[in-house]
Symmetry: C2
Subunit: 277 residues, 2 copies
């Protein structure tokens, strides 16, 4: 049983739990109770989701933005306006409390991070659950592709690119990508395995030179931790679920609430539900 | 060069064209010019789409209904409110004229079929393009699975089922399925090939006994033509893009405009764009 190092409201604690073996409901209860921890590796086999909640009058534009940009914004579920649980999130769940950490954006500015979003939530917010590449990291590792940031205990590096998303109504923004350095003889396997998960970003958008995406310095990601790159590795880039946050920064809706990068919502859906064929 | 038998405003005509070899733009121009014909087999390799247009104030519910029911309602594109072309439909296209035949629903009742929808279109309508199983019929045939309705020159049979779609806001309705009778030793191939096209209904929803879907008489479909079933065939059911029309009949929006079954919009997208992995 592995211990997990985590911050709570009261500081960092070693928890006597095996996060990989928890049921999603148990993990959500821990996070609702105040635990703050990155969710990589939690509840193995269950799907984790990016969160973005926007006011009802922007909900069509948001859903259209996601539909037009399915690689960075694959929608797994949308909660009915005014509802906090149900769907793949599970009955009894509360989207306002069950992620470990939230970000609050006002007029496109990140104004605070909170572990409980109830005090900033509004009745007219509509919550979107967006697929996360954690889903294909496990089968990729099982296929012999090293997942270097996981092995190093780091968050995946993420970059804004000069590639534009397709606009939708009042919403626009750049594509954000995550990067995994893959040995040259494993790139084909990384493509093959991730391609089987189109609902969670799917195949890479770019393999090779970061300059092709307008990334100047691979060692300075815009989100997450610096990459681990070994000799003979090729940088492989996947569309990333932080893209909606970059869209919020550019499009400046009055209010948007998201998860904090790496601190995802653990759902009742299974990774295997999203595999094709 | 095959001739195509088609109705125009002036009656049925033999056209000296090979519809399979036409470019999508050319096909759309013929239909905009008044030609009425089923589009099965037209513009081979290019993606055909179901159409549903609803008023702007229902657009979020419609997009959510599609997102929650991705097997019957895989959204290929949504036109910006007030726009008639662009996206996968191609520049210069006009969604109001470029399908061969339209259905107009008022308060859930089918009130007329028109070859040109401009006189009934409203500025606040939002047009949704939904994937169509025509996309996987060609690779299925290429893999040795007989596509019996095509061979017989018939429309595919479609059935309302007792399976419910997931509701979305004010929208609800039953799942509609299409049926293809497949030899028992080819069912696995039919599943395998269609699974590779999740954006156009994907894998079957049901294989075998029609009673499991609440279908009483396979020879009396609710839409399309009666099936061709040979000895040793197994009925295989796929989610169908006519599902939004059944939803309209149940949910009764003030106005909805759709294509007529089998008379699809031919887009500039390629079938191969939707294949995974």
């Amino acid at each position: 049983m592995a211990a997990v190092s985590a911050g709570t409201g009261r500081g960092t604690t070693e928890l006597p739990i095996d996060p990989a073996g928890l049921a999603p409901r148990e993990a959500r209860r821990l996070f609702a109770g105040g635990l703050v921890a990155p969710t990589s590796g939690w509840c193995q086999g269950f799907t984790q989701a990016n969160l973005i909640a926007v006011p009802r009058d922007l909900a069509f534009d948001m859903l259209l933005f996601a539909q037009r940009n399915p690689k960075p914004c694959p929608v797994l579920d949308v909660l009915e306006p005014g509802r906090f649980g149900g769907g793949i999130l599970g009955e009894g769940a509360d989207v306002r409390t069950d992620a470990p950490l939230y970000r609050v954006y006002r007029d496109g500015e990140l104004v605070e991070e909170v572990a409980d979003a109830r005090s900033v939530w509004r009745e007219d917010l509509v919550a979107f659950l967006i697929g996360c590449s954690f889903t294909f990291e496990h089968p990729m590792a099982a296929a012999g592709v090293p997942v270097r940031h996981q092995e190093a205990g780091r968050n995946v590096p993420m970059y804004r690119t000069t590639t534009r998303c397709r606009d939708a109504g009042r919403l626009s923004g750049p594509l954000v990508v995550s990067m995994r350095a893959v040995p040259a003889d494993r790139v084909a396997d990384a493509v093959r395995v991730s391609s089987r998960y189109p609902a969670v970003h799917g195949a890479p958008v770019h393999v090779g030179d970061p300059a092709g995406l307008g990334i100047v310095d691979l060692d300075r990601p815009d989100f997450g931790d610096p990459p681990v790159v070994e000799d003979g590795d090729v940088p492989v880039f996947w569309a990333c679920g932080v893209t909606p946050q970059a869209m919020v920064m550019e499009s400046r809706p009055g209010l948007a609430i998201t998860h904090a990068p790496g601190h995802m919502l653990v759902t009742d859906a299974r990774d295997s539900d999203y595999a094709v064929p």
